[in-house]
Amino acid sequence: MSALAVVESLSASSPEGVLLDLAAVTMLLCAFACLGSKLFDRYVIYYGAQSIVLSFGAAVVAIHQHDAGLWVLAGLTFAIKGIGIPYGTRHFLIDRFALKRDVSLSTGLSSSLIFGAFLTAFAFLAIRAGTVGNALVAEAVLPISTAVILLGALCMVVRRHTIAQLIGWLIIENGVFLGAIATVSTFPFIVEAGVFLDLVAAVLIMIAFVSGLARQLAEASAPELRQLTE
């Protein structure tokens, strides 16, 4: 059975469709909450909350498709992205270096939120109706996942602290995963597991780098990373 045929039955009006829709909207709100905050521990909390909602969304699709692989991924998302990464970031970086308030913002919070609103509107306009078929849940979720990706990218651009950039990238990754489960259900399990492994390895290496930078620089913030310019 082709991937699209699998999700074709997941219509926007079915109970699973409504739940997935709700999960997507909550994820978008978490991304906005992250964009509207400047406390390091809040970034991590909002990212963790977004990941837990994503695991819930993956579980909804897993129930709908009776897909064991997707169940495993939902569990992994909950345990690693929802709990492990937020805990690790908090324990090894934020608490260890007593980081409180992100002062290296390139724009004010309100302008970031307005930019974010524009990007969300753009995502809805850019993803044309009918791209993946009418009345599918994907039709509503795909623009939201695109908006989450764009908001993550915005976080990386307007926040210059390395931790904020790390969280921004993770939000982008959540957006990609949301788009994936809504449109094609999932990649083959081996590939999806590999993607997960890469993510975990990337986060571990990033935490090591940020901690190395934090030890050597006062703020570990991108404006201080200016030695390599030409």
């Binding site: 082709s2 991937a3 699209l4 045929a5 791209t131 993946v132 990706i149 990218a153 990386m156 390395t162 950039q165 790390l166 990238w169 982008i172 990754e173 990609v176 788009g179 994936a180 449109t183 094609v184 990649f187 083959p188 081996i190 590939v191 590999g194 993607v195 492994l197 890469d198 390895a201 990337a202 290496i205 990033m206 780098f209 940020v210 190395g212 930078l213 050597q216 620089l217 990373l225 030695q227 390599l228 030409e230």
Partner: protein, 494 residues
């Protein structure tokens, strides 16, 4: 052959295993040399097997080797072998000077091994999803090498590299997702919908709109890894801060891994979208890269950054060749991939000798290399001439082929623009290197011999001489086996 395909991925991991027994550069370097050369030998056997047009299949399409995979496998295995020999000498010298702690020596060999293994594995998979996973894994391993020295500069370069590359590669994942979506209309299982050979056989049935988006996103995503402008910003920093043998691997191997993924995606677009769509985009990114590369080469400053911008320029040339297309364009692109890989591996390995000897990366502070260290000086000058496209070296032949392809299939204006840019690069690159190589002894004292022991000197010199001999041979004569391999590779993707 399936066993050999597994062995070629496992062999580079030997030094990583050896770190459990020792943290000294000398024994680990020896294991690295042995494993690098053995990997090259096995890769050549595999390449000869698939070179005649045969395929190796297995594991539901997750294992797949065709002539194109064989070509890249042999090219990268050659770079791994050269860099392994270079590593053995370089890390020993750094350890002797107390620049690297036992932990750093261990980390170097572990992540060098994983980096090489993941890159080689990426040419052996038929799944475009797994290809993404392996390319991202090789990025992560190489990031650790870039940040290995742990100084603020190297950590900064490593941070920029990991954050920009991870962001870029995430875009490539979205591209892969759209390809998967484009394939949902054709019959087959989910695994087959990501299997390149299956998709290529059913390319005419792919959904055009999704495919268009898939190629664009894959090009931007993998293009970030390749260092195509304007996504190249991580590249000069990472190349200049990594230990030199790792820089050689980044420039001569990693960039080609990204290019390999782009070639696979491009081949899928032809049946449904025609050749013009992908060609036009590749030409735009290609010319942008050559222009950016040329501009920054003219600026000079740091010689490792100079060589890094030369890589941006050469990746642009390969993109342009893919954009010109046709048998001649693809032939030029593949030959250039091989010749550039050898030339750039040699250049970065010589830069390692300079770093050890002069303890500076600034062009203006390096003088009289030919007098201070004659072999390195001679190879540096010859390699710079080769990389700048001078005859009688291999890069002249490949660039000449690309120009012929442009004249046959594209506009004269584009070819003329390319030639002007190449001329600018030639003058700037050779001028900068000549300034370092020629002239009297340097004003500031050098740091003593780069390598204290004669055996380390031999180890450091071997890849330089071997690389230059290969470059010269490829400029004078293309062996029949290589010619057949390239022709079969072109056939596999057209």
């Amino acid at each position: 052959m399936r066993i050999l395909a597994l062995i070629v991925v496992l062999l580079p991991l030997l030094p990583a295993l050896a770190t459990a027994l020792s943290a000294r550069a000398r024994p680990l370097g020896t294991v690295s040399v042995v494993s690098g050369l053995a990997t090259l030998a096995v890769a050549i056997v595999l390449t000869v097997h698939v070179g005649g047009g045969r395929r190796v299949h297995g594991l539901s399409g997750f294992l797949y080797l065709d002539p194109l995979s064989g070509f890249f496998l042999a090219t990268i295995a050659l770079v791994v072998a050269l860099a392994s020999v270079g590593s053995a000498a370089y890390v020993r010298a750094e350890e002797d000077r107390g620049e690297l702690s036992p932990l750093q020596v261990r980390l170097y060999f572990i992540f060098f091994a994983i980096f090489a293994s993941m890159m080689l594995a990426s040419f052996e998979t038929g799944s475009l999803g797994l290809l993404w996973v392996l390319i991202e894994a090789s990025t992560l391993a190489s990031c650790v090498l870039v940040g290995l020295e742990g100084k603020p500069r190297s950590l900064e370069a490593a941070w920029k590299y990991i954050i920009i590359s991870s962001f870029g590669v995430t875009i490539a994942l979205v591209g892969t997702l759209f390809l998967y979506l484009a394939a949902s209309q054709i019959p087959g299982s989910p695994t087959e919908h990501l299997t390149w050979s299956y998709l290529f056989a059913h390319a005419a049935g792919l959904h055009a709109e999704s495919l268009r988006l898939a190629f664009l996103l894959a090009l931007i995503g993998y293009g970030t890894k390749v260092g195509l402008a304007p996504m190249h910003t991580w590249l000069p920093d990472a190349h200049s801060e990594a230990p030199s043998p790792a820089s050689a691997m980044l420039s001569a191997a990693l960039l080609n891994t990204g290019m390999y993924a782009i070639i696979r995606f491009q081949a899928l677009t032809h049946a449904e979208l025609g050749t013009h769509y992908a060609a036009r985009i590749l030409l735009i990114f290609g010319f942008a890269s050559v222009i950016i590369g040329a501009l920054f080469i003219v600026l000079r400053g740091n010689y490792k950054r100079l060589f890094a911008y030369s890589s941006v320029e050469h990746m642009g040339i390969i993109s342009i060749a893919l954009g010109f297309g046709g048998v001649l364009g693809l032939y030029g692109a593949l030959l250039h991939t091989l010749t550039h890989a050898i030339g750039k591996a040699v250049l970065f390995l010589t830069s390692g000798d300079l770093v050890l000897r002069y303890r500076t990366r600034l062009i203006d502070d390096v003088r009289g290399v030919l007098k201070v260290t004659p072999l390195t000086g001679a190879v540096l000058l010859l390699a710079a001439l080769a990389v700048a496209g001078s005859p009688p070296f291999g890069l002249f032949l490949s660039e000449f082929t690309i120009v012929r392809a442009g004249l046959a299939r594209s506009s004269v204006v584009l070819v003329a623009a390319l030639l002007v840019l190449l001329a600018i690069v030639f003058v700037a690159l050779v001028g900068a290197v000549a300034q370092m190589v020629l002239g009297g002894f340097p004003d500031r004292p050098t740091d003593g011999p780069a390598y204290r022991e004669p055996s380390a000197r031999v180890l450091a010199g071997t890849p330089l001489v071997a690389g230059m001999v290969l470059l010269l041979l490829l400029g004078l004569w293309i062996p029949g086996g290589l010619d057949r391999l390239i022709m079969h590779s072109i056939h596999a993707i057209s």
